[in-house]
Symmetry: C2
Subunit: 625 residues, 2 copies
């Protein structure tokens, strides 16, 4: 495709191992060129892995670069995303990009970003935050084995520095436990991190011993011996019942004396790129013919195609977390793409209801929230629609993964149960009081917080059709059902629960505080202070029009949330009023002191977010001059 | 102390092993009683570990319960924090609490919360989010070995379910690498998690193999054989050069047929507590005489006692991250309690400047942000003042640890470099765009974002004296020094950089946007729109008085931040105006699209937060009707 492309196969006389070695040098040269053109980047981290990638491309990877959505394609993930020059050099070698694009690396507007993102159609997941590519590769491999049921393989290039991340060990553990023999981790043991040698340096045995203990098949090789690399990949493909790690001793900056195996050479272009290219044997234009993937049709689950959400009787008391589970079961019955994951709390989040109904589409991730989110990201790469659930407080464990999922343009549904102090006795370690702030600050996210079971069910259904990252926050305790089944609950909407022309103040609430707000409105009515009540179940996007109408009508607003004062419902409401005319007066009620244990009512009262506190604040605001 | 206390030693005739067994039964009975009184809690998870704790209390732990600050004390951490009934039963057995307090478990106002917190003086760190107690224990053990240089031991009771958390493996790796033979992990392998068996069930060998590969000394025992437990603890104390894991096969719910080794019995009180207590042999009042700690004086580092902050020339260009490193070096020279930790990016965060000056107080944590924060929390338990640094984006990796550090009432200083799109070419994976939202939503936190080197230095000095969790966000690129050295920069303050009676609009900025705002003010002056500029370096607490004065003067406010629109500076400013009279009009400028790579200027422009965009927004707002 590229004008300078020369088919490797055309060089009939070239021996296979010589071809691989030459290709490795080309990948090094192109890595050096890309970083030189950019004036930044990680050429030395690319050079150590060049031979590993050369042999993979030429003889092992099965991939149609003209059809990245081909379900038969293998998956290649650079967990060490900073080796992007090598990845992009590989794309040039296979003819997917030309040299001009290669040299646009890191320039404004180029899709060849500093670290890989799915702006490039061959990139499954964004990497660059270390320790995420392998867990996400586990997700793709889980999809291959248990969902798609296709023979594609997942190849993940890992750095040695990132082996210090616990998330890598969550991945190693889960991959072995689920027998992912379709997964190969290629460990580029180049000894040097950013500022110093890694803990284990070139002791590949230290890694091999750990990985064998974790249940992996391991192969230790010289990562610059192309024959050994080839044999290792063959062995990986031939190994069944467990994943394989190719543990390759390599040299950082391999091939250029200026930088080879030297500290202080991380993350910067070479000082003399022209000299380096000469030292590497000059620019090459080898073109690799990557093996074609087999024609495959992914597995599909039998489903009804018709959504029948659970229906709850108005006046009954049902926990929204339970409604989540029932609705998820229903959504799963209608749509076979829907899958669920949980962090070993499925009887708390109620994803167990889905698990019982659709056991083949339920993935138990044990108490490993990072791997849970990563697995969900990996599954959506293949078009599955994962809902991942745990206690909302424990989603904080995976914030970096959620953040990066947005960079990955992932479609991801999250459910966090046990919101706020209303959980009661378990205490602050189990109370989500920052989850709204965290999820609001995710690019393009949707943040939902229902107060009743029918609303929760409608929102779960909406999430199944929503792209990007959406989040539903559910309650531990049972709350009264206040909406009729089937009441539309669009994302971005709200429900005005009390409204009268004489309203003097508006109370904006979500989740458990909706019920407190309704009680407060009753108190206020008795006190002669008519109050509007808005259930702002869609915290992001927020229903600006309805809020502004309320502000126009009452000019005084009380927000109340079971969350810290920062970044949650109150801040979202203030944001909706920014630059509106006239600006209402807003009083925010939220949890400001560190809670302890107690009954939910006691804790809501102590936090100043119960009906009494709301009524007092609303009355004071309504009667303020 | 307790009226019903009976000294174990008084029972002269009681054999040691019988005494331990009796004590184990007492701990079980008291766990059952506490959960029964609360109506919730985790008695079965307590019963499995009762013998392990009984033997520890009676013969191994060295602790003065009357003097929890005694530097010679051992440290006992329940990483499986849900076994709090067992911990509180132990406190009763040693006479630290009485039976009435034991039975206040989980009640409103009781310091015996659902999961342990330092409201109890014998609790070092809050647990309850699994996988944190061991990494924090590593921090305490690091302090013991490398800072205090005292022989105290750290004993951490771990659950088997939490071994799925990657953070545990960060801890195992770091503890072995740093040769923490003062650390003993007691693994309570009771086979059952919350909803099902763990991955490895009772296969203690699976854990032993993994831990040996990670460099630990391992001892596999029957966790109900008190003689074996005693021998194992002796062996742990006698092992040098590496930490020891006592891997104990136990039975969940041990001793009560109703719940023993049965699924579905997690996290709930027993149905028939009276019968269970009878089955366990009834209530006992054994009193343990815990071994006294040796009298010890912790090591102190030689320091000057006088703080000489670095001074930067106005007009020079210096990166605030570099000023951070220089100021930290100075703070460390003045105060020997100050220590630094970094996640293998010390030449990016510039903590390397501290490391070079004070190598004995620098802790390289490699790329393991969770362990980094946990180690810092562990060190502050012993009164050290840790500053932990990495890229601000990667602090998201440790959000759950930061959240829990607030529950731990920890004094913790965090530094996040490479804020926002202004980092340039590395792309979104390295750009912190949610860190202000994350850190604002931490209980009691301080969030600082300096724009110049002298300001950064002053704030580092302030952080060293600040309790609770404080955070400084630094910039990758060099920015002009605009403040004279020594200009006071109090936490909660701001700097009014441009101000005139005729100002028609106020621009509120922080960090890199301060410099854009100053340029914008110049443009605006040329356009005949005088603008006030406020450097809001203290994002939390925010300088409400100065902001309100500006609102009174100009009534129109533009906020501008290199951060997502949610939860950052703009929301903090809106919050400062909530319920103020009159409310100003506020326009928020922030990063709303997903950035790519490019030069800092290009990315600031594309995000609409550069001088031009600010000037246009401010002019439009000033001229709006």
């Amino acid at each position: 495709m590229t004008p300078e492309g020369v088919d490797v196969d055309a060089n009939g006389a070239m021996q296979q191992s010589q071809r691989w070695a030459e290709l490795g040098q080309q990948l090094r040269v192109d890595s050096v060129r890309a970083a030189a053109a950019a004036g930044s980047g990680h050429p030395t981290s690319s050079m150590s892995a060049a031979d590993l990638i050369a042999v993979l491309l030429d003889g092992h990877l099965r991939y149609d670069f003209d059809d990245p959505a081909n379900p038969g394609n293998d998956h290649l993930i650079f967990s060490k995303g900073h080796a992007s020059p090598l990845l992009y050099a590989a794309y040039r070698a296979v003819g997917a990009i030309d040299v001009d694009e290669l040299l646009s690396f890191r320039k404004f507007g180029s899709r060849l970003e500093g670290h890989p993102t799915p702006r490039l159609p061959w990139v499954d997941v964004a990497t660059g935050s270390l320790g995420q590519g392998l867990p996400e590769g586990v997700g793709v491999a889980l999809a291959g084995r248990y969902l798609d049921r296709l023979p594609y393989r997942v190849w993940v290039l890992c750095g040695d520095s990132e082996l210090a991340e616990g998330s890598m060990w969550e991945a190693f553990e889960h991959a072995a436990f689920t027998q992912l023999d379709n997964l190969t981790a290629i460990l580029d043991i180049n000894r040097l991190g950013q500022t110093r040698a890694t803990r284990h340096g070139w002791d590949t045995g230290a890694y091999a011993e750990r990985l064998r203990a974790f249940g992996w098949h391991t192969i230790e090789i010289d990562g610059h011996d192309v024959e050994a690399i080839d044999k290792a990949y063959q062995e990986a493909v031939g190994t069944s019942g467990r994943p394989t790690a190719v543990i390759a001793r390599t040299v950082k900056g391999k091939g250029v004396a200026e930088v080879e195996n030297r500290e202080g050479m991380h993350g910067k272009p070479l000082e003399d790129p022209e000299g380096a290219i000469r030292e590497l044997g000059g620019v090459r234009d080898l073109r690799v013919q990557v093996l074609s993937p087999p024609r495959e049709v992914p597995f599909h689950f039998q489903t009804t195609g018709e959504l029948e959400l659970p229906r709850f009787e108005v006046g009954d008391k049902v926990a929204t977390r339970k409604a989540y589970g029932q609705a998820l079961e229903a959504v799963g019955a209608a749509n076979g793409q829907v899958v669920a994951l949980d962090g070993e709390v499925s009887n708390s989040t109620y994803s167990e209801i889905f698990a019982k109904a659709h056991p083949e589409r339920y993935f138990e991730m044990y108490i490993a929230e990072q791997q849970m989110i990563a697995a969900a990201v990996g599954m959506q790469v293949r078009g599955w629609r994962p809902f991942a659930s745990t206690f909302a407080a424990f989603l904080t464990r995976a914030f970096d993964f959620i953040r990066m999922a947005a960079v990955s343009r992932a479609d991801l549904r999250l459910s966090g149960s046990h919101a706020g102090v209303s959980i009661g006795e378990d205490g602050p370690s189990q109370m989500a009081l920052e989850d709204l702030a965290m999820l609001r600050a995710v690019h393009g996210s949707v943040v939902l917080h229902p107060c009743d079971a029918n609303q929760a069910a409608e929102l779960v259904a909406a999430m199944a059709e929503q792209s990007g990252i959406s989040y539903i926050r559910t309650l531990r305790g049972a709350t009264p059902v206040i909406y009729q089944p089937g009441t539309p609950m669009p994302i971005g909407g709200s429900q005005v629960l009390r409204s009268n022309d004489s309203d003097r103040v508006t109370i904006v609430a979500a989740g458990v505080t909706v019920h407190e707000a309704l009680k407060a409105a009753d108190h206020l009515a008795e006190r002669g202070v008519p109050a509007r009540v808005i259930d702002c179940y869609s915290v992001k996007p927020i229903d600006t029009a309805t809020l502004r109408a309320a502000a126009d009508a009452t000019s005084r607003i009380v927000t109340v949330e079971d969350h810290w004062p920062e970044g949650g419902l109150g801040d979202a409401v203030l944001d909706a009023f920014a630059d509106s005319r006239p600006m209402p007066r807003v009083v925010k009620l939220a949890v400001s002191g560190m809670p302890g244990s107690g009954k939910p009512d006691e804790l809501l009262r102590a936090a100043g977010i119960d009906a009494e506190a709301i009524a007092d604040a609303a009355q004071a605001l309504a009667e303020a001059p």
